[in-house]
Every structure is written in C-alpha cells, then in structure tokens.
C-alpha cells in the first residue's frame, strides 16, 4: 500500500503531499528527479523514457505523468503496485472533476480542498472512495477553478474565499449496499436517454488492406429519474446471444456461412447491473446512478469490417524544395448514409511554407503545431469521391530525417455517423419502474458511429 502521495511540478519540486504511514523520510523525494534521469532508457529524459516504477534504497517510486505534473506514490513494502497506480489514476480523475483541470496553478489555488479530498480517498495507504459523485456529497469546500480567474464572473459571491460550512454528514451511500445512488432524488419530468455509441479503431495499409480493426462500443445512459427506479434494458436477440457467449467464455457456435454474425469480445457492465440476473435470466436489470453513466461497454471484433473510407495517397518530392501531396478519399458506404464532421489529418514535414491547395470539396487548412494539413468536410455522402492536391515549399534548412519521418506517421481520420451502429446492436426496449412512485417516464434512444482515437491509414 502507498505510504505517501506526492504532487510534483515538471521540475520535480514538491507542490503538495499527503503522508499516510510516516515511514519514509522526507529526503526520499529529493532523489526522484535524479532517479528519473538515471533510469531513462532513452538518450534524454523525454516523456516516456523512464518506466513508471523505480526502486532506490528500499523505497519504491510509482509515478504517472499528468500534463506537466508528476504524481507519485512511495512505498517500502512489496505493495500491490497495480492498486496504487490505479488509485493514482482515479485520483487524477476525481481532482480533474473538482478543479476542471489539474495543473500546477489549480493545485495552488485549491490546496486545502485537495488535502481534504486526499483524506477521504485514501486511509492508511488503502484506497477508499474514488467515486466523484459520492465524494461531492460531503466534501463541502468549494473549489476554485482556473476559468473563473481568467474571466471573472459577475457574481458577488467569490468561491473559495467565503466558504459556508454545512454540517459535514457522510451520506449513507458510503457504507450502503447501493453505493452509487442516494435515496430521495426527485425530478419533475422523468426522462432517460440511451446513447449507443460505437467508436471504430482501424489501421489500413497503403494498399487499402485492413491490418487491424476494433469496435469499442458503449451504451451510455443519462437518466433523470426520481426515487429508486428499477430499469430493464432489452437488446436484440443476436447481440444478446453473443454477449452471453462473451461472458461465459464459450465461443459462439457460428456457422461458417453467416458472415454477418457479431462477435462480442468482452463485455463490461457498470457496477449497478445485476450480473447474476444477466447470466441466469438473460436480463440487463439495474438501479441506475443519477445522471450519466456508461451502462455497458463492449468490444466487437469483426474481421469482415470494410474500411469506411478509401484513401489514395501520393507524394512527390521536387528536389527537396517542394512537395506535392495528392490525396483521394472515397466514402465507402451506401449512398443514403452520410458521415458528418469528417476530418482528415495529412502529416507534412515540420515548418513548411506557403502551402497551395487544389480541391473540390470541404476546407483545407495547415495546422503548424500538429504538422498536418487538415481537410474538413461538414458532410460527405456515401459513394462520393473527392481529391485534393497540396503544394508545399520546404524550409531551406531541413534535415533529411525530418523528410523521412513525416511519411511514417499515418493519416488520421475523424468522423461521425448517426442513425446506425456497425455491430448491429439494437435496443428493443427500456422499461422503467419505480415501485413506490409509479410515475410516467420517457426513454429516448440514439445510435452513433464515430471514429476511435486511431482510425488510421498508413502511407507507405
């Protein structure tokens, strides 16, 4: 378990720390920057060249990088390092939730709230509560966000300086069986929104062959329901069957001919879903947390998925002074479907000069700090094809490495499509019942397909 948690600035100086076990001398932290340097496997201490777990003189340093902060835990024991790191990760998320953005400045602004939070999130080096909603109920200090500093709002009450102290009452949820929802919630209109969102990650090589693809799906629930409602979610049979297979670990007995079958690789439920009922009665039943949650998340492996966009890419180098990049994009789906907000990021060498474009749709823009040309479409219909040619002047002083390097970076695509999802999941019903209040409720469902973080096409 963790003995002490530190927040360090980018130069390794402590900003704030909370000791839980008092068994580590305060000098230990001074060694940390040196350790980072000595254990680096790269030539310099870049981000990511030092592994996140270091040992020195019997003390173990477990750290993660968040923006320009080092957040680390120290321990002497053979601790459960996974728990520590996951705790640090959740802690960052909680603090982000409180402070909008966790960075040097916001730590300084809010150190006393942070101390209070650290006290609640961990006791004796063991993680306690990292659920933001529950924490919010009894951390009463108001946090001061950076935003308000930049744009002072007109309100007379300054947050932070005049804090009103309510009696601190730990909500019953902390030790309740249903820890994710407090009783006594009331809404005038009872509504629930379901979003089925699937993000596609895909890697395509320059010949248009699919190298890897994965669909990360999630059913997101946003609910504004009173009391303790019991919800039951019904999905289409085919998807349900595949889910059950995933949970039980038995591969589906799929016949070879049925190529359209869904193969759900793994399935995760929010903690509110009754897992037992799912397995025995094939039912997704739950009492939802108030507000937003990811009810179900899943991963679908689909070897037959076709690339949604076909890219044709050519680059010509005119004696290292001028580059000509040609890119053709074809929307490889039915003509009645259309994609929105398509963004194609075409990597270019650093510091290029006066780019000139020829294109027949969308807008083109050079983004210097990403070293890409961004081709944006508001909407692209299925089956359509568009071309652009960009002429770039190369900087007179440049090294050959740079010219080689940019070709290695794949082209990145972002897009969004509404109305359907590629895995074939369908919501059949969402039943809402609150045993005591018996109110009328309104469920809504939306389907969205979009690009994941890495929908990429290699260029060579």
């Amino acid at each position: 378990m963790a003995s002490v948690v530190y927040f360090l600035d980018s130069r390794g100086r402590p900003l704030l720390h909370r000791d839980y076990k008092w068994d580590i001398p305060s000098t230990a932290i001074e060694k940390f920057p040196l350790l980072l340097l000595n254990n680096s496997i790269g030539q310099s201490v870049d981000e990511g060249s030092t592994i996140p777990v270091l040992n020195d003189n019997g003390i173990n340093y477990v750290y993660l990088l968040h923006k320009d902060l080092y957040i680390l835990a120290l321990t002497r024991e053979d601790a459960n390092v996974f728990s520590i790191l996951c705790y640090l990760d959740s802690m960052v998320k909680v603090l982000e939730g409180y402070l909008k953005s966790l960075e040097e400045e916001s730590i300084r602004d809010n150190f006393s709230v942070i101390y209070e939070l650290l006290d609640e999130m961990m006791d004796f080096g063991i993680s306690q509560i990292t659920d933001q909603k529950i924490l919010k109920e009894y951390i009463t200090q108001e946090s001061f966000t950076l935003n308000t500093l930049l744009h002072p709002s007109g309100s007379k009450k300054k947050p932070g300086s005049t804090t009103v102290f309510k009696q601190r009452v730990a909500p019953s949820t902390v030790t309740n069986a249903i820890s994710w929802r407090s009783p006594g919630i009331v809404y005038k209109k009872n509504e629930a929104y379901l979003d089925v969102v699937e993000a596609i990650d895909m890697l395509v090589n320059s010949r248009g062959q699919l190298l890897s693809s994965e669909i990360h799906g999630a059913i997101k629930l946003k609910s504004f329901l009173s009391g303790m409602p019991e919800l039951i979610l019904g999905l289409n049979e085919k998807f349900m069957k595949s889910c059950l297979n995933a949970v039980r670990g038995t591969p589906g007995n799929v016949s070879e001919g049925d190529k359209k079958s869904i193969e759900v690789e793994d399935l995760k439920f929010h903690q509110c879903v009754r897992l037992g009922k799912f397995e025995s009665e094939k039912m997704i039943s739950f009492i939802p947390p108030d507000g937003e949650c990811d009810l179900v998340s899943y991963r679908v492996h689909s070897p037959v998925l076709k690339p949604l966009f076909l890219i044709d890419y050519k680059v010509r180098n005119h004696s290292n002074t001028r580059l000509e990049i040609m890119l053709k994009v074809r929307a490889n789906f039915k003509s009645r479907v259309s994609a929105r907000k398509l963004e194609i990021r075409i990597p270019v060498p650093r510091d290029i000069d006066s780019p000139k474009y020829h294109y027949n749709k969308g807008t083109l823009k050079y983004v210097p700090n990403e070293s890409v040309i961004l081709w944006k479409f508001r909407k692209i219909d299925g089956g359509k094809e568009y071309v652009m040619i960009a002429e770039l002047l190369l900087p007179s002083v440049s090294d050959d490495g740079e010219l080689e390097k940019f070709k290695k970076i794949p082209i990145n695509l972002k897009f969004e499509m509404q109305g359907f999802v590629t895995s074939g999941l369908q919501v059949k019903y969402l039943k809402i019942r609150e045993p005591k209040m018996n109110y009328q409720s309104y469920p809504y469902v939306r389907y969205i397909t979009k690009s994941g973080d890495s929908y990429e096409v290699r260029t060579n």
Binding site: M1, L15, L16, W22, I29, G42, G48, I51, P52, V53, G58, N60, T75, R76, E77, D78, A79, N80, V81, F82, S83, L85, D89, S106, D109, F111, S112, Y115, E116, D119, D123, F124, I126, S127, I129, T130, F144, L149, G160, F165, Q167, R168, V169, A170, V174, T175, V247, R248, P251, E265, D266, L267, K268, H270, Q271, R299, K405, K408, I409, P410
Partner: protein, 665 residues
Amino acid sequence: MGDSKLYTRVKASDILTELRNYEKKPKSSVYRKTILKKIIVNLSLGDNEVVMLFNEVIKLLQDIGPTDPEAKQLCYLYLTTYWRHKPKETLNALSFITEDYHESSTDEDACLALRTLAAIQLPQFLEELVPMLEDALQKGSPSVRKTAAYCVASIFKAEDPDSTSSLMSLLNDLLLDPQLEVVSAALSALGDITEKSETLKFSIDSEHALKISQSLAVCGEWSEVAILNALMSFVPQDHQTAAHIIDIVLPYLQSENSSIVLNALKVIVYLCQYVSSVLDVLPILPQSISRAVANLMLKPPEIQFLAMRNVILLLLDKPALLDLDIRMFFCQYDDLLYIKDTKLEIIFLLADEDNIEIVLAELQEYALEIDVQMVRKSIRAIGNLAVKIDGTSEKCVSVLADLLSNSIPHVVEEIAIIARDILRKYPGRFDHIIQLLVDRIDLVTEQDSRASMIWILGEYGSSISNSVALLSHYAEHFLDEPSETQLSLLTAIVKAHVCQPYNKELHQLVEDTIRLVIENVDNPDVRGRGYFYWRILSAQLPNTIDIIKPRLPMLNTGADALPPEVRQELDLCIGTLASIYLRPVTQVFRHVKPKVFADSPARVDQDLKTARPRTSKSSLSRASPVPSVLSASQQLGSLSLDTATTRSRSSSLGLNGIVKKLSRK
C-alpha cells in the same frame, strides 16, 4: 480568489510577527484561516522552518475549536507532520483531540480525530487511543468502525504486540461485521498486521473464503480489491472449493477497474495450483485471461506497462494459461519508449514457428524506423529469435541480410553484434552473411560492433578473402584504440595467424602487433596478454591452436531460466512490485516475509509451462457445446501433444536472457 496568492514561501518569523500584530485586534476566523493556510503552504513546499510555530498552531487549533472542520483539518495535518520534532508540545493538543472525538457530532469528525491520534505515536497518545478504539470497534457507526480498523493496523508494533492485543480480537470480530466495507477494511488491516508480525498468521478457512468471495458482487470497487487480496491467504483443502472460487472470481477479470482485474488474476493463478488439471476443469481460463489482458492494453501507458510485466511473468512460467494474439503487442508509432521496449520483449517471448512470418514483418518495420534505439532493439530481437528457435533461423537471417543491403550505419552496426551469436550457434550455415558485413565494414564505427567485427575476422578469417588486409587496416591505428578494442584486435590477429600459419603477411602482422603491444602500450592487461601470446607462439607447442582458438562451447539458450522456487514465489506476486522487478521478494524488500505456497492435500504440481496452441475460436466447443470434462480433456490432450515438443524450448528461455539481451543498448 483562489489561494494561489498565499502559495509562496514565507519566513516563519514573518508569520510570527503577523500573528503577534493581529493578536491585539479582534480575532476573525477568516484571518486565522489565512494564517493557517500560509503555514500549511510552507509545509507543502517542504520548508520545515514552520516547525517553530508549533505552539502557535496549537493555540490556533484551540481558538478555532471544533466548529470549523476545514481549519481543524489543516491543524491536524500540521500536528501529524511535525509531532516528532516537538513531542512535549504535542501533548498539549491531546486533550483537545480526545474531546473532539467524544463530542463529535458526525462520523467524519470522529474518524478524523481517531486518525490523527493514531498517527501521533507517543505513549501518552496510545494510552488514550486504545480504549477509544475498543469503544469505536464495538459501538461505532460503520465508517467509524472502518477507520478504527485501519488505526489498529497503524499503531500495531511487531516488537510490542501486547499493547494492542485487546484490539486484535475485536478486529477479528469485525470480519463477521454485517457491513461489507467494514469487513474489507478489517481484512486489509489484518493483512498488514500479519505481514509485520513474526508470530501472527492470517488464514481463512473454506467457509469464510466462499462467503467473502460471494460478497464481491455487492461491495464497492476498492473493497473488492481488499477482498481479492485477502483470498490469497486462503489455503484450499480440496480441488472443488478452489475451482469453485476461481469460478466466482472469473467475471472480475472483466472489471472496469484495472486493479480489480489484476488482483482477480492473481487469485486465479494462485488457486490454479490447487486444482488438478485445471485447464480441463476450466477450459475457458486462457481465453478469459487473455481477454482481460487485451482490455488492459487499452488503458493509460503506465497501466499497460504494469500489465505487460505481469504478462511476461506468466509467459515465463505458465504460458498455458494464456492464449494471446501477438498482434495486440505490435507497437504504435506514438507509444512511449518504455512501452515499445516491453512490447518487444513480449513479442520475442510469443514468437514461434507458426507466427514467425508476421513477427518478422513487424520487426523489420521497426528496424526501418527513425528512432535509433528502437531500430537496434528490434534487430537484436530478430537475432535472438534466430538463436532461440532453430526453425526460424533461416527466415531471420534472410531478413537481416535484407536489412544489411540498405547500408544504414546503425543497422549494420547492430547486425554485426548479433551476427556473432548467430554464427556461433549455427556454424557454417550462414557464412554468406559474413561477406555482406565485411563489404560494409567501413560503416562500423561503434566500439561494441567493431569488437564483434574483429572477432568475426579472427574466427572466420580463413573464409574471408581480404581478412588480412582488413585486420592490418585496423591494426594501423592500434595505439589510438581503447584498450578493449586493443585486446580483441590482438586476440583476433593471433587467432587468424594460428589458423593460417603460412601466410607471410599475417606472420608479419602478428610480429609487429605483439612488438607494438609489448613496447608501447601502457595498459598492463593488454601488455600482459601480449607477453602471453608471445611466449606461447615462441614455445611452438604442438597444441597451440587448441589453446588460442579452442572449440567454442555451444551457445546455451535455455540455461538461464528462472529457478523454480523464484518462479513460484513470483506467481504469488502478480500485480505487486516484485512482478515489475521480476526478482524474488526478499531480494528487493528487506523486511518482507518470503512468500511460499502453503501445502495442502489439494496442492498439485502441474505443468502449465507448455503453451497450448492457439485454438481457433470454434474448434473447441463446436464439437461439444457443453463439454463433459472427459471429452474436453481428451481433445485438449491430443491437441497439445503435437506442438509440445516444439514449444517447450521456446518457452524455457529465461528471464535473465531476455532482459539482458534486449536491454543491452
């Protein structure tokens, strides 16, 4: 306004004067808190000068009273940080804190008071605290009971177990508490205490183990972690119970919280030791575990790294429990350096004759990257694969030859280093690569690579047409070379000479070099070796060649596997720090008890070392959708037989080997 304007170093004496000035004016709570914050800021910044304000802080604490929780908390923070420096003054705060506990109106206040008392380890504090804890453990509300449990662990001292003995039995009673969160806190506390103590042992019987594993379903995420951890103290007495608990724990491999996933994995791997032929009883195990690994690979890089270290651990000892798709570990161009590094290690471990094609294609891609480090590592991996698996050597070497043809300096240099091992392992089979290297000898400038090239020239000189010319070229600047190069050059020249004793040019070269060494080199090692060769050569022994160029011992690839007891211990350490360092617990942590598998009638020693072939998803259960144990085991048995012989070699290459080989720059 935020508090950042307070966030500056202030001299303690300045704060003191400020305090004195304000004392004359009516006290306002806002002002007191500002002062307090200033003090805490300096504490946060590690400025220990504020220690001299100890009395003032206690006075502030008493002035503020229990009404302002925020200020009180800051005061407590100050006390717990500095009590060591001012033990006498600390006693003044004792009555305030105990009163705070007794008069606390909320659980939060009570917990805070208990925690503060437990942190200040002065005998007077302990005296007060023990009866308070006794009271809290029995009568407190759930969250107070929870805090009290942790407090017992924090005041427990191995040297003096008697002072807290009354608390131990109460803590034990908490294991049967109706509130699960309290139970999990008690489990963590007891686990910590027994780890520190020589005499106490923590064990769970079957009934209780079943009970707590079933309660996993209804408690919060961090309690799940505590319960899973506690299950490691359960020693199953029969196969059935162990298998049953594995079954219960299995779904937690899919949890959203990565910490739960890895702790569940730890429990499963541990319990597998107590289920005979576990893969027949639970054939889905490899798939479930692999799926969990796939999920972890989508997490932030730090977590990915930890997960991969544990995958390495499993691959070394129990590859049969995994059914991984190697492509999961292919590097993204923007992966962090240490992620790429670890991925390469796993790719190296997972490579076998079946997937060598895609592995090599991928490694070749890395070898053409911009990042020199990565290039070197992937080339090294290709070379090591050639040495590791006989059947792949042909393909590996042809990839290397392909890479050589580009004549990129650092690529050539790295290949020169690994070529030495390949040539040794397969004498005579890949001599064509020597010529390719020799053609590009001008590109080799780095010291290690040059040493390797020189070694090759000495060892295989007779089959290289211009070896003599090359050696003499190197010898021209003999005195400018670092002594390591001088040593290898000297040896190589002598070796070449004894192989071709009638080559006049070489003869001359040997004479010149030895004379140069004896007369002009200052380094005693180099000079000593010069004298040594000189004497041997002038003695004209009949077996000179055997002394100077002995038959090389076979390269042994399987010898440096981890010893079994270390592997077993590491099995118990999945998800802990030892799994990251891959070293036995006692080597890294001085005061930690070594971990051993407890003996029980259910303990089985089974071979999970042999990786099973990746079953194509459908082959297994389509034949028997509800496999009876018998039919499943027959199928699996026959499946694993044919590949067992080829796999066993690949999986036995030890940890030392990889870590060493891959990390050598």
